[in-house]
Amino acid sequence: MSAVSEGIERARRGVGAGGSGRTTPRRRRRPTGGGLTLLLFALPSLILLLLINLYPLVYAAMQSVRSGNLINLGPFVGLANYRNVLTDPDFWHSALFTLIFTVTGVFGSWAVGLALAMLLRGKVPAGGVFKVLLLLPWVVPVVVSATSWNWLVATPQSPLPEFFSLLGFDNVLFLSDPTLAKIVVCVFKVWISFPFMMMMMSSALTAVDVNVYEAAKVDGATGWQSFRSITMPLISRSTYISWILMTIFCVNDFPTIYLLTGGGPTNATTSLVVLAYRTVFQDFQTGPGVAIAFLMTAVLVIVSVVLYRQIAKVNIE
């Protein structure tokens, strides 16, 4: 063991740079049998991937072209499920809400997260305490926060409607009015997600040297200018990554919406995932339900790939 740690120490000092008399080869040379070890390393993960991720994908693809239920695959119906889904106004209504939910979720949480990351970058009294407290909305289980938000906004006796009636708006029913319910759900999502963005952006900002700002200020740059031309380019890669991840999180998000409004009032906050869930587990129509999920995923993958390409471009620059 001591030989190993000695070796590590030597490597830390810069791979046997003189001294010991032994010349260390610069090229990596893996011990014999290493290839087999690496294969065994990847194997458990591959098996799980096949069983839990790829098998359901193939099975679901089959379900989407058949008219079956939760137990049987049912007869082959071709693309009828897709056609029915695409001509259903409920689908387009949910697609629109998914878009609104995703766009506000991604950019809302990014803006709040970035702003907080920048505020907390310098010295702020009790900064460490704030960093932990601000993570809470993301750490606390959604079931808990949905329950709490229900208490805060749902009934006329809830604190937020009470507060609004003090301002002269009586009987504001946040989850019964379609427009207000949409807004509440989107705000809820931003509230849950901004800590994640804050963490992503904080780690991106640590790479930015504060002295650059000082130099820019001496050159007469305004705060906004240095943000645009110093901060943004340096964090653009992390920004694109965070947008990709948050887009995936938002489009696939079931509990945030389902636990707060159940998709209501009358479908106002039904996103595609909620619609797919209902079609399968409440109407027991697996074919159309899976078709909805597949159409949604197709769009999601396209959006992700476009953003992914954008990262590659940033990397080259």
Partner: protein, 297 residues
């Protein structure tokens, strides 16, 4: 960076820009400036942000209807344990979460090593598959798995839920660990190989030994995912005594919507473990790694 070194750095920067500036004039470092207005803004945002969480805590301590207690009381917590199956839910949640964390780290740790150290077309496509899999909605996967698991007796069974959780944490866990390994210089391993260690030996003794923060990050991530999940649990767990806390809380909430004290007591019990874990291990957790891993290959 210490204050002094920062100040010298700044002075050099300034004098390089404007040689006429008096060299004795001390500028306050940038990160010191305006700290009080930033404090006020952050304070206000933080207070607004934690209102829903503080409300949960506050309501759970309120005496219920017909209670003789005045002021804040812990009686809701006692009532919850006698009136609900929460002891089962808590036990199930702990079991499911701990097993998921252990398995997902054990599977992702070696897989992440392959992703980090091997450059080949096969590995790149494996990485791409991980990415695509990650973007699939859980709803699609849940139905086929439900059918598969009902044949295997894994519906209404904690084992079935654990398998699904391990599968859904796998992509991100593998990326996170791969990103962490990327920061460990290969020369450390080469030195170990020179000393006669196998790949497996150097992985255990050199790579893993230096990866504690990466492993902790991954473990925290898996913990949060499985502790907080609602969708998988509500589909697969059918009977009261097999519920995990999220399903238990939601069911209890539907049945007792007006008895906020009891509902919130369950909520507090549910949010305490992740909050405590995060408060204690916060400094080890970094999501930056996810992004680096995603874009790096």
């Amino acid at each position: 960076m210490t204050d002094t070194s920062m100040r010298t750095g700044l002075q050099q920067g300034v004098s390089a820009q404007s040689p006429t500036a008096a060299p004795t004039r001390r500028r306050r470092p940038l990160d010191e400036r305006g700290k009080w207005w930033r404090f006020v803004v952050v304070l206000i945002v933080t207070i607004i942000a934690i209102v829903p969480i503080v409300s949960v805590l506050y309501l759970s301590l309120q005496p219920g209807l017909g209670s003789s207690a005045t002021g804040l009381t812990l009686e809701n917590f006692g009532l919850v344990f006698s009136q609900t199956q929460i002891s089962y839910w808590l036990e199930n949640s702990l079991l499911v979460t701990l097993v998921t964390v252990v398995i997902s780290v054990a599977v992702a740790a070696p897989a992440g090593y392959v992703l980090s150290r091997v450059r080949s077309r096969l590995v790149s496509s494996y990485s791409l598959v991980l990415f695509v899999v990650q973007s699939l909605p859980v709803v699609t996967a849940v139905i086929p798995l439900f059918i598969l698991f009902s044949g295997l007796g894994l519906v209404d069974n904690l084992g079935g839920v654990i398998i699904v959780y391990v599968g859904s944490t796998l992509s991100v866990a593998t990326w996170m660990l791969a990103a962490y390994y990327d920061s460990i210089p290969i020369s450390l391993e080469e030195a170990a190989w020179m000393d006669g260690l196998s790949v497996f030996g150097s992985f255990l003794r050199v790579v893993l030994r230096n990866s504690l923060p990466g492993i902790l990050s991954t473990a925290i991530f898996s913990f949060l995912l499985s502790w907080n999940d609602y969708l998988v649990a509500v589909v697969f767990l059918r009977s009261d005594v097999n519920y995990t806390l999220p399903v238990g809380l939601e069911t209890f909430f539907q049945q007792n919507a007006t008895n906020w004290g009891l509902v919130m007591a369950v909520a507090v019990i549910m949010m305490l473990p992740p909050v405590i874990l995060f408060a204690a291990l916060n400094k080890y957790f970094s999501v930056g790694g996810i992004g680096g891993a995603l874009a790096g290959r």
